[in-house]
Amino acid sequence: MKILTQHIDVPGIETIDVFMKNGGYKAVEKAIKTMTPDEVTEEVKKSGLRGRGGAGFPMGMKWSFLAKPEGVPRYLVCNADESEPGTFKDHYLMMKSPHTLIEGMIVSSFALGANTSYIYVRGELMYVINILEKAIQEAYDKGLLGKNILGSGYDLDLFVQPGGGAYICGEETALLESLEGKRGNPRNKPPFPAVKGLWQCPTVVNNVESIAATSWIVNNGGDAYAAIGVGRSTGTKLISASGHIKKPGVYEIPLGITVEEFIYSDEYCGGIRDGHKLKAVVAGGSSVPILSADNILTTDAGEKRLMTYESLSEGGFATGTMLGSGGFIVMDETTCIVHNTLTFARFYHHESCGQCSPCREGTGWMDKVIKRIETGKGRSEDIDLLVDVAKKIEGNTICPLGDAAAWPVAAAIRHFRDEFEWHITHPEEATKPGAVYMRPGASWSN
């Protein structure tokens, strides 16, 4: 079942003519001509679509929180600042089929009553910005954007804003600050953007993938979307698969397939690269807890783990993780978890905005301590120190970056503590190039 990537390999799909030949912009016509904004919102609510940026918050509910005071403009902002390590789905979608996003933007803006909308694209993706700009111009030329869209009286202007190159600008309030031309520091909440967002006006910020899915929901109805998937995880999800698998890439999966199927079937990842076996998986982008092979494939209850929001988080953080943004990083037994954790910790150290003290100081501290362990200068108390620092950052920061920095470190120690201990007790062996800890009885390759 493919919704977003159904026509993605059609040659010329980035042009509006080919896109429309393949059924594009039908949702705009249907929504604007035959539906009211509330009806569109209602369909999205019915679909059970959950935010695809990482938090998984029901999108229809987010829309319904939007304050609608008289005489105050409302804004829709598309968060295309995808910078999570391991996540590259939005990049792929916008690059290959920009009109999928633009169609979704028009439908969603109509539902929210926004007359100005923005796509905030990660600044490094300049060529994607060019693709989007070109596509938007095509949409203007066809009368799908601008004044009086399709003769309906509804006006919408769509702008692309290149980001300044900071991970933190993917956090919705930091994104809004950046969009306003300020330093990208997250705001204190409340007030939430739904009440006071862009220029202190009610604003909805949604991920590229979530917005792109709305046009299919308008075309086929919320119930059809909800029929896909399992339980409260409805529809399809783009997964960015990377790491030691045979076929890395972006896959659109119906939520509810097993993790095992996703990793090993030829339709998706195609299994672990030849001669190696699965060691660990980061299931939803670098900020979610890493899981060992056993924990990712089966839950505590002994059931096969599914690719759903609920199943992946079953067992809490003790044995579970999160679907997050769908950055699926697979590691085989040649991966040093300490080194991998250092890479993540260094990233968050580099990307912390420095506004609130636990994150500013804590991320740097964790980075330095793991760096010492990795280079053979670890002390026996360092592991407990890391756990404690992670605990003191978690939940005490302004925005979720603190949590995102603390979780991978805490989870790596939770599931691979022996590996950290080995680095501390065997510094000479551990600092040899390519050295990887083998659990007793484990070996390289099958």
Partner: protein, 341 residues
């Protein structure tokens, strides 16, 4: 609205924050504030020193809030129950915050002009632990001058943003802000320029630590050797209400007047602060009221707050013989410590 903080209930106006309500009760209950500064619009929420536990959100919705919330920016709801000093998790988190703030702070208090009136000193003394868990090197920056009278020592900065909000308030454009990210973020005027404003000196007073210091006062005296006096003058730029800091007969420093929470009551102009350093410039009102617990009160008002016997007794108690057999005969230092029992 009724709000209960540490089992004390009081009535407050709608819109009051937890911090304001707690301050109404008194300093025993008020959470510490390192970044929040009531007179500065927009300040607060950054240092996380004032995180408190809300065990009941309101009368209508008595569920506890899942995370600790910053008292300085969280408005009270009717029937809210807040735990500050009585909550173990709050105190534990606060220890962590002290640790984070000191992680890259140089601990150069012996040569820092702020020592004695430093909020970070007070905060770490009241809420921190006496030992350190870090062996990492601290981040360092070069000291810079912000104009001719203000020195910025970024090493000591805890990025509270108070000076940024002050600059925003006194100037039209953005001339003073934060550059870079994370623990290498630094306060800067774009770029190393002076804040060209008659009230720029107030950034010194709002700074909770010794990052921004008065160059006309630097290294002149320790704060506890000087005596604060309230004084005023007729100034055409500001109200002229200041605190003069005397050492002997000499005015060594002029600052704005501060309230109980260390917040400026009003901004003073640079002329009053930097240029009026003669007693004849001022009309003296009388000694500034200083808390008896403040180190500024030491050696004044006849109280003997320092007991030399105490540190010696403590040193003797904690004294540990270190196995060290180097030849020490040439240096001939006599031990001041009593022999270990």
């Amino acid at each position: 609205m009724k709000v209960t903080i540490d089992n004390i209930t009081l009535d407050v106006e709608p819109g009051t924050t937890i911090m304001q309500a707690a301050r109404m009760i008194g300093p025993e209950v008020a959470p510490p504030a390192m970044c929040y500064y009531e007179p500065l619009q927009g300040s607060g929420g950054k240092c996380r020193a004032c995180l408190v536990k809300v065990t009941a959100g309101s009368e209508k919705d008595p569920r506890p809030m899942p995370k600790l919330v910053p008292a300085c920016i969280t408005a009270v709801q009717d029937g809210m129950i807040v735990e500050n000093t009585v909550n173990e998790a709050v105190l534990e988190t606060r220890k962590g915050i002290v640790e984070f703030l000191l992680l890259n702070h140089p601990l150069d208090c012996p040569v820092c002009d702020q020592a004695g009136e430093c909020h970070l000193q007070d905060f770490s003394f009241e809420h921190g632990v006496s030992s350190t868990r870090t062996v990492e090197e601290r981040n360092t920056f070069e000291p810079v001058d912000l104009g001719e009278n203000i020195k910025l020592n970024m090493n000591r900065c805890i990025l509270c943003y108070r000076c940024v909000y002050t600059a925003d308030q006194i100037t039209d454009g953005r001339v003073h802000g934060v550059m870079n990210r994370g623990d290498h973020a630094e306060i800067s005027t774009y770029i190393e320029k002076a804040i060209d404003n008659d009230f720029s000196g107030n950034v010194i007073d709002v700074c909770p630590v010794g990052a921004l210091t008065d160059k006309t006062y630097r290294f002149k005296s320790r704060v506890w050797f000087s005596k604060p006096m309230d004084a005023h003058c007729s100034c055409d730029k500001c109200s002229g209400n200041v605190t003069l800091w005397y050492r002997g007969d000499e005015v060594i420093r002029v600052t704005g007047r501060k309230n109980q929470w260390g917040e400026l009551k009003e901004f003073i102009c640079n002329t009053c602060r930097f240029d009026r350093k003669k007693t004849s410039d001022w009309v003296i009102e009388g000694p500034t009221e200083v808390s008896r617990h403040s180190v500024i009160s030491a050696n004044k008002y006849g109280a003997n707050l320092i007991h030399p016997a105490f540190p010696i007794a403590q040193a003797a108690r904690d004294f540990k013989q270190i196995d060290d057999n180097r030849d020490r005969s040439s240096i001939e230092i006599k031990s001041i410590l009593p022999a270990k029992k």
